[in-house]
Symmetry: C2
């Protein structure tokens, strides 16, 4: 199996190194032959080549069996709304070119982190949500631009039936293997693209009579996720709503630093933390690498079908937490300072 | 002063009646001469006239000094994506026709409700956020429709400079009277309309050097609101992001049933709870009317400049809570059952 490592920007570099080490360890332990290569994306790719997704990186991705990804982004571009070339373009182009239309974001709280969240433990205990975020459509990829001499800016949100159907199907299939409850999130009381979304999910639901479907407006979901996270099992939603809701839901898991994601579709799967490049802590060795480690676990499970190997990794994370080790982001007032470790040490 | 009462749908009817009673009481107590009229909107207007915002309602709104509004919506339309006439169209048309471009949503927790939230009391205590949601632009009002024989649906998000500037200015002015901290929320790493948004706010910021401005991506804000609500003072954002974030932030106040909003702009101001029509509890006398009562308080303050009267209302809500009275939505495990009252009784 050939794995491409794409650390990207900021703490992406630091955490992906730990994720890779875990893959190497698994290969040794289970006698697998994993080979590795590395490639550039985002700000580091712009600096080196002028292109946030160099052709070479894309070719390497297509030729690999799976990609372990870090993060992209740089504050330099955030505060310059007129920048023409941006790190995020590399990420979005990768998603589109690899046909990564389904982004899976499992939100599960390790018991040891019950008190690390800002939400009450009794509200959280037992929460276990699997998000399916559509990843290659919506307002991310529609036409955008300026008119009226630059005084008006627009972005087009767009969905076609087949796009909703293929992500919907994945969500229904997953719900079947879980609690058979699916929440479809849209804003059908305002958006035409949401009305199409709802139509397609309603039709699909007829094929999955064993799954209970609930339709929610995105504003209600944003509220209910915090009020009662346990009422959710599988959630399926559009690209933009998924971006917002999964970041919000990271608080259910105690910290963004614990959340992994899998982007799958037509070809090579890409596995990455849901956190960003976090330039405020870059280079300090403080970043929590567990989201990258858990991304490696998803890679083993989903792209390689290595269930046992994946579980060994998840279990290792659990053991580290059980022993009381923490990174800063998941420490709380009761944590013994000597148990707070940096990126490498906890890795 | 002439006040138009527009209860709309579902629990809108029940809670607005209580809000009106409070206005009547204030008039008596302070010797004001308030006159009232009533008008239809939403589902009830469709049933009566076929139009979710009858011309008569709009005329009455324009002719009044302030509008006390309930809610619109009906499940019948939610599950029928192909319905051509919808209650929400009445609400959106009202916002556009009255030029209500600024929606103010204060999020403040009454001390007595500290334990009613799913968020930990120590995270919440002292949180006090004022949202400015843009209300007449964005993907709500851009072109929308179908193409490819109905197989593709689209919605256009659009902002012009002057739209961002006028709401931005209101937010900066408010920040000046508070903690002088403004968070501007967008998705400038992906959306062109957000890049224009950020450009305009950056330019405005030069006129308000005493206000500290922080720029956040909407996904980060969705996370930070729950992680650390106290880091926010004034927040300004686009229509769709504001819809999602303010519903989410309702959990900071314990319940949506406690949150009022003011929609202001070119003419008559409209005051309404942020909750919806809640057909699941309609007609049961269970709805919490405090958001309507607090909307009446905002009406007195903002449209009539009656600060003292407004404070008397807010204080009355506080006293009711201090005495231990609750509606179901803000009761918790420690609440004495006999203290849980219905809509009228608590009103
Ligand atoms: C960096 C950004 C473009 C990206 C997104 O919005 O998709 C990120 O927030 C994510 O969730 O992967
Ligand atoms: C009913 C709906 C159209 C409306 C909105 O999205 O603006 C509501 O959610 C609100 O926040 O007032």
């Amino acid at each position: 199996k050939h794995i491409l490592i794409v650390p990207g920007d900021g703490i992406g570099q630091e955490v992906t190194e730990v994720g890779k080490k875990v893959l190497e360890k698994i290969a040794t332990k289970f006698g697998h032959d994993f080979t590795y290569d590395e490639a550039l994306i985002g700000h580091v790719a712009i600096e080196a080549t002028g292109d946030p997704l160099p052709a070479e990186t894309l070719e390497k991705m297509k030729a690999s069996d799976a990609v372990l990804f870090g993060a992209v982004g740089h504050p330099k571009y955030d505060n310059d709304p007129s920048a023409k070339v941006r790190p995020e373009q590399g990420l979005l182009k990768m998603r589109k070119e690899l046909g990564l239309y389904a982004n899976l974001r499992p939100i599960k709280l390790f018991d040891e982190l019950l008190s690390a969240s800002s939400i009450k433990p009794e509200i959280l205990k037992g929460a276990d949500i699997l998000f399916f975020r559509e990843l290659t459509g919506d307002i991310y990829f529609g036409e955008k631009g300026r008119k009226n001499n630059g005084d008006t800016a627009y972005d087009v949100a767009e969905y076609s039936r087949y796009e909703v159907e293929r992500i919907g199907r994945k969500a229904f299939e997953a719900a079947r293997t879980r609690k058979k409850h699916l929440v479809s999130v849209d804003k059908a009381n305002v958006l035409e693209s949401s009305r199409l979304w709802r139509e397609v999910i309603q039709k699909l639901a007829l094929e999955y009579p064993d799954v209970t479907v609930e339709y929610q407006f995105v504003d209600a979901t944003a509220m209910l996720l915090i009020k009662d996270p346990k009422r959710f099992d599988v959630v399926v939603t559009a690209n933009l709503f998924g971006d917002i809701l999964t970041d919000e839901a990271s608080q259910i898991a105690g910290s963004m630093g614990m959340l992994a994601s899998a982007s799958i579709g037509d070809g090579t799967g890409v596995y990455e933390p849901i956190h960003g490049s976090a330039h405020d802590i870059t280079g300090k060795g403080l970043a929590n690498p567990m989201a990258s480690v858990l991304s490696a676990a998803l890679l083993l499970d989903i792209s390689f079908g290595m269930k046992a190997e994946s579980e060994v990794v998840i279990n290792a994370v659990d053991q580290v937490l059980k022993k009381g080790f923490r990174t800063g982001d998941i420490a709380d007032a009761t944590t013994d300072k000597s148990m707070i470790l940096g990126t490498d040490a906890i890795g």
